[in-house]
């Protein structure tokens, strides 16, 4: 119990996601059209529009979140990523020996980009006109994304779950909503548990399907007399891609559910905490049906799939607070104008973390 509010009962507020697939489809289509005819330049404006739409439809206690990112910043980020990509492709194709060196250089740039990306996203998000901030230090980003990543192979990847934990801690432990900084009390245990379960399940599934597959392969080639080439092709395509994907998605869903439930439950903003109820089964179901929908609709259901996944994630997340949501204060020094924080607006980069 927070000593400041001894008598208050905690209130639960659920996130509510009001985006509609048909509305988002139209925004997405117009974005695609303008992006293609401008050969990619409009992608930055498209991203801002998409984000604004998603944020504006994410409601908590009746009020939406707001995205303030500016297209020019995202354009700069896109140009940096495109430049790195082109350099990498050119080097790999013409001087493959140098590609390794380039990889190391990118390894040194990457933590900086992660840091910039986290800052950009947090500082450009507000709720009830109070901006979020990301207070993580560049030093911690380099420790997490360069040092720890670098020593991973030396530990034979036993350290991998811990590394995943440090990445999440870097994010959840360094946020602030206005003047209220977050604190994160998560531990490595659930990460080790999640990856251990995933490893055991993955290995047994692989062994089982390999055995079942070769058995089925033998029966089929004996009974139908089909040429070994054709059967071989079906076998390879079916087992190596399709089943591998399903197994991989299952493991990813399990890892996501276990680790994210843990991370949210261990994050506090003052007396405000979170509750999340993700289940691996539901995440997996959504993922597989989404892929099927995208494939069979030739991509037209991409917006629907995206909204559906986000809706599940957001509506399984709620806030439990002793403090009323309208009593948070803005950070005293931060710039509240429409211009935003120039330093964080410099480059906007999206990195899937």
């Amino acid at each position: 119990m927070d000593p400041d509010y001894p008598s208050a009962a905690p209130k639960t507020y659920s996130f509510e996601f009001t985006a509609s697939a048909s509305e988002y489809f139209r925004i997405w289509m117009v974005n695609l059209f303008l992006t293609i005819i401008t050969l990619g330049i409009y992608a930055a404006w498209a991203k801002v529009r998409t984000r604004r739409y998603i944020w504006a439809n994410t409601n908590l206690a009746g009020h939406p979140f707001t995205f303030h990112g500016r297209p020019a910043a995202i354009l700069k980020g896109n140009l940096i990523i495109a430049g790195m990509f082109i350099t990498y492709v050119a080097t790999k194709k013409f001087e493959p020996v140098m590609a390794g060196a380039l990889f190391v250089i990118f390894g040194f740039i990457f933590p900086f980009l992660v840091y910039k990306s986290l800052r950009f996203n947090a500082h450009n998000t507000s709720y009830r006109n109070i901006r979020f901030r990301f207070l993580g230090r560049l030093r911690e980003s380099y420790e997490t994304y360069l040092l720890f990543a670098g020593i991973l192979p030396c530990t034979l990847f036993i350290f991998f779950p811990a590394w995943q934990f440090y990445k999440k801690r870097f994010f959840f432990n360094n946020l602030a909503f206005g003047a209220t900084a977050s604190s994160f009390s998560g531990s490595r245990g659930p990460f080790y548990r999640a990856y251990f379960i995933a490893a055991i399940t993955g290995i047994s599934a692989f062994v089982f399907f390999n055995w079942a597959g070769s058995y089925w392969f033998q029966r089929l080639s004996l009974s139908t007399g089909a040429s070994p080439g054709t059967v071989n092709l079906i076998y390879t395509l079916f087992f190596s891609s399709f089943l591998a994907a399903i197994i991989l998605y299952t493991l990813q869903a399990a890892i996501y559910a276990i680790t994210m439930n843990h991370c949210w439950s261990q994050t506090r903003f003052g007396s405000l905490r979170f509750r999340s109820t993700f289940t691996a089964r539901r995440l997996l179901f959504i993922r597989i049906t989404n892929i099927a929908a995208i494939v069979f609709s030739l991509g037209l259901l991409i917006p629907w799939a995206k909204i559906r996944r986000l809706k599940y994630i957001l509506e399984n997340l709620s806030v439990v607070s002793l403090q009323d949501l309208d009593t948070f204060s803005g950070s005293p020094g931060s710039d509240q104008t429409a211009l935003g924080d120039a330093a964080t607006d410099f480059i906007g980069i999206e990195i899937g973390l």
Binding site: S20, E23, Y24, F25, R26, I27, M29, V30, L32, F33, L34, T35, I36, I37, G40, A43, K47, R49, R52, Y53, A56, N57, H63, P64, T66, A82, I86, V89, K92, K93, F94, E95, P96, V97, Y127, R128, N129, I130, G178, G229, T230, L233, A245, R287, N290, I291, I294, G299, I302, A305, L325, D326, T327, F328, S329, G330, Q336, T337, A338, G352
Partner: protein
């Protein structure tokens, strides 16, 4: 006068205040529950976030405060009256009209066909010509080294036979790409599991296997194969295929938003089909040039057809993959050569540098920068 209700957030705390907003043509005035106006600002210094779907409209005030409202009509009227966001509302117009969205969808499909079928191949062709051939030397050497280590063995041909074939190769070079003859070299290897085959590396190294030499009945057949490989190098097919793949990757990234999403996973198959289509176009171009050379020398395309057929029979386990293949099927290639012979007017087409790519679309495990037979 424009009136509407809104939530007012001062930016210092997260508290929402219900306010009335009024606009009289010059100033925006906010008043509280008691009808007391507490804030007044010239409309020129406010900022309205452009409309987006049915999401709440946001008005940013110069004191750092924010107004949130569901009253779309009133805010639209305010925008019209003040001229704010005039340059942005056309995007909202497109997004809110089904017909406009349908037109966009149609134009996207047209644009994709245009980009994949014409713009990317032409741009790659143009760009490939500005890259000097020697930049591909180190990658070609490495590719050959890798082939030698993993797949190929030393040639068992005697020096005399090698000499004959080398001069045959030299003739083919001088007929197809005389201006850059110095770049070309022929290399002899034993094909092992590659069997009868020949392939060109982008810098001009053409590898020919003993098995292929043994399979050929006369020099014209070998000359046809050489012409095909030299044509790959001359037309910069390896480099163009790298550039085209990069273009397709870029396009997919634009379409799916990022590289890690579900949507980009699902785009794996179309990308494969497009790239193999490009590869088959290149094979057709090279066949065309080789065929035209044979015709010009009065030999007809017969020798080329024969050797293609023999190579096909010598690889009995090759699967017919259709659109999943990097090469057109042998039957189609032979058919193409026959047509070329029947229509002599088309001969000069092959000597043009910019062949319009024909639409076909596919895969095998390719070594970067290598063009096989």
């Amino acid at each position: 006068m424009i009136h509407f209700a809104a939530d007012y957030f001062d930016g210092r705390t997260s508290r929402a205040y219900r306010v009335r907003v009024a606009f009289d043509g010059g100033a925006v005035v906010l008043s509280d529950d008691m009808q007391d106006s507490f804030y007044k600002v010239e409309y020129g210094s406010i900022h309205i976030d452009p409309a987006l779907g049915r999401t709440k409209r946001l008005i940013r005030l110069p004191n750092g405060a924010l107004l949130e409202t569901h009253d779309h009509e009133a805010v639209n009227a305010l925008e019209t009256a003040t001229g704010i966001n005039r340059s942005w509302n056309w995007v909202h117009y497109l997004e809110t009209h089904r017909m406009a969205v349908a037109v966009c969808t149609f134009l996207i499909v047209v644009a994709l066909f245009g980009l994949i079928g014409y713009v990317i191949p032409y741009a790659a062709n143009y760009a490939a010509r500005t890259v000097p051939l020697h930049v591909t030397r180190s990658v070609s050497k490495q590719a050959l080294k890798m082939f030698d280590e993993r797949f190929l063995g030393p040639s068992a041909l005697n020096d005399e036979r090698k000499g004959e074939i080398t001069s045959l190769f030299g003739q083919a070079v001088s007929r197809i790409d005389p201006a850059h003859a110095v770049n070309y070299t022929i290399v002899f290897r034993r094909g092992m599991q590659f069997g009868a085959n020949a392939f060109a590396l982008p810098s001009g190294i053409v590898v020919v296997t003993d098995e292929l030499v043994a399979l050929s009945d006369d020099d014209d057949e070998l000359a046809a194969i050489f012409a095909h490989e030299i044509s790959h190098v001359k037309r910069r097919h390896a480099l163009r295929s790298i550039l085209q793949s990069t273009g397709v990757f870029f396009l997919v990234t634009l379409l799916t938003g990022d590289v890690t999403s579900t949507a980009s996973f699902a785009s794996f198959l179309p990308v494969l089909l497009i790239e193999n289509g490009y590869s088959r176009d290149f094979e057709r171009e090279a066949d065309h040039e080789a065929g035209a050379l044979l015709i010009a020398r009065g030999k007809g395309t017969r020798p080329f057809q024969n050797i293609l057929q023999k190579i096909d029979t010598s690889h009995p386990r090759t699967l017919k993959l259709g659109v999943f293949s990097t090469h057109p099927e042998t039957v189609q290639r032979i058919e193409g050569l026959k047509k070329l012979e029947q229509a002599p007017g088309k001969q000069d087409r092959s000597s043009r540098d910019h062949l319009p790519p024909e639409k076909v679309i596919c895969y095998n495990a390719r070594v970067p920068g290598q063009e096989t037979l």
